[in-house]
């Protein structure tokens, strides 16, 4: 299979998009990623977006940007969709369906006044069995955390280390919403939202957007940017399995091993990891399921700064992640890929740049753990 490369990546700098529409944020992000790649809108022949894009599938955004493409995909798995798009764009490029694929994400939940990510009830078969209890997103992830603590003895302090590491990185990011370095004590003493999760276990709500440009090998080699190749990818959906609920395992235990098998490497080879961090517990469960540590040992793995760049074994989310930097449209997958690309190019902030970063992983958890979630993992290599 011929290779596909991420040649353009752009994170919109805004965190509160007053006076910029969602469609405009998508297009500004697209323009940024194309400029980063050294390409133009006229070069785009494939387009990928998810449910944050206004309109039915890709159609309204294609009209807004006035693009003519001959391949499109609007797969939606919540915040992990953009990692699925990376994989699907690579497949489309490999099979000759397109040569320059544009992937966009944007949203403005802050400016629009939406304080939480609660979904309105939709006429799905599961809704009548969940919506009457009106679970908040924090409650759903709280149930995951409570069960993990019960089964494995994971502590609030261990979960807090994930936020501590993210804050160490965010202090260097001028765009990050929360740049103050916090301690384990700060996290566990922050107000309880839904026990066992505290306020500082939760990600930020931010406006913004991001975009990626993926190209074929021949286009990639004609450009001036470093070559970041998609080496492996996996995707899977986790759900309640007919009532055989397992809250402590996510579908990362499928998407991760498939991505590693395709890449022909193991978790020990990864120099940097972007792990979706809607909540601290989201990271802990994913690290276990991806194979960075045994199931149940995530608490010990993340403790004592093991995720802090320059200090721990697995530098993660060096932009500050969703926990401190940015979670545009309540969907954090796009920014996960963008920071992995920065690391592979050597373009992360010098204070957090991982030395000789040639292999990176990005992982997304979309929808919601505790009900239905889409896991997507990509492994990227700098050639």
């Amino acid at each position: 299979m011929s290779a596909a490369y991420i040649m353009g990546a752009y994170e919109h700098p805004t965190r509160k998009a007053e006076g910029i529409s969602v469609a405009q944020l998508h297009m500004q992000s697209a323009a940024g990623a194309l400029a980063d790649a050294g390409l133009s809108f006229d070069d785009v022949d494939g387009y990928f977006c998810a449910g944050d894009a206004p309109g039915l599938g890709p159609m309204s955004m294609l009209e807004y940007m006035n693009l003519d493409v001959h391949h499109f995909d609007s797969t939606d798995s919540g915040g992990s969709a953009y990692l699925v798009h990376v994989a699907h764009a690579a497949q489309a490029i490999a099979s000759g369906k397109c040569n320059v694929a544009l992937i966009t994400l944007a949203g403005r939940p802050r400016a629009a006044g939406m304080k939480s990510a609660k979904m309105p009830p939709a006429p799905t078969p599961d809704t009548p069995f969940e919506a009457p209890y009106s679970p908040s997103v924090v409650e759903m992830y709280g149930m995951v955390a409570a069960r993990h603590m019960h089964e494995f003895g994971t502590t609030r302090e261990q979960l807090a280390w994930i936020k501590v590491a993210a804050s160490h990185h965010a202090q260097h990011n001028e765009h990050a919403m929360l740049r103050k370095v916090v301690t384990v004590e700060d996290v566990v003493n922050s107000p309880l939202v839904s026990a066992p999760l505290h306020r500082l276990d939760c990600c930020v709500v931010s406006d913004g957007g991001g975009a990626l440009v993926m190209t074929s090998e021949s286009v990639a080699k004609s450009l001036a940017r470093p070559l970041v190749k998609l080496r492996g990818a996996g995707e899977a959906v986790g759900h309640a399995n007919g009532g055989r609920v397992d809250l402590t395992t996510s579908a990362a235990n499928v998407s991760g091993p498939r991505a590693f098998a395709e890449a022909g490497i193991t978790p020990g080879d990864i120099k940097y990891a972007s792990i979706y961090d809607s909540f601290t517990i989201t990271v802990l469960v994913a690290l276990e399921d991806l194979g960075f540590c045994e199931k149940g040992k995530g608490g010990a793995f993340v403790a004592d700064g093991n995720l802090i760049s320059g200090q721990g074994k697995l530098p993660f989310n060096t932009d500050g992640g969703g926990l401190c930097n940015n979670h545009p449209s309540n969907r954090g997958g796009m920014t996960k890929v963008i920071e992995a690309v920065r690391q592979l190019r050597g373009e992360a902030h010098p204070a957090v740049q991982v030395q000789n970063c040639d292999l990176a992983l990005a992982h997304g958890t979309g929808g919601s753990l505790a009900t239905r979630h889409g896991s997507a993992t990509v492994i990227l290599e700098r050639l």
Partner: protein, 128 residues
């Protein structure tokens, strides 16, 4: 679309809602493979046969996990997954929960009628 409309749109599970409206609790069980499941649907999620029946359930279970939200001057709000004596684990709420409510606590079913018109099973502690 309110909750009653949502339940009616997904009429696979109508016998479940007919039961809760009468203060009765049923589980869906497939007569082909014998497995109980939740949420109830017309096709068995395990053997895919369209032989799902609804049978009276004990209403007993235990808390599999929970999230506790404390608000000033309000009763404890507890969203939970409860594992039923019949096997499946379901999302629900624990009502009138004491402050020390925890995973593993035995519970029994009760019912609440939602403002939008659907009567749903909730659970309360049954510690004796």
């Amino acid at each position: 679309m309110d909750l009653s409309d949502l339940a009616q749109a997904n009429f696979d599970a109508q016998p479940y809602w007919d039961a809760t409206a009468k203060g009765e609790f049923v589980v869906a069980r497939c007569t082909t493979c014998g497995e109980a499941h939740h949420y109830p649907r017309a096709v068995c999620p395990f053997c895919r046969a369209e032989t799902v029946t609804f049978e009276p359930a004990s209403g007993k279970g235990e808390i599999y996990s929970l999230a506790i939200t404390r608000m000033p001057d309000k009763p404890l709000r507890v969203v939970a997954y409860v594992t039923l004596a019949e096997g499946p684990t379901m999302m629900t709420k624990i009502i009138d929960a004491p402050d020390d409510v925890a995973i593993g606590d035995p519970v029994r079913v009760d019912f609440q009628t939602h403002p939008e018109g659907l009567t749903v099973p909730v659970f309360r502690l049954d510690r004796n």
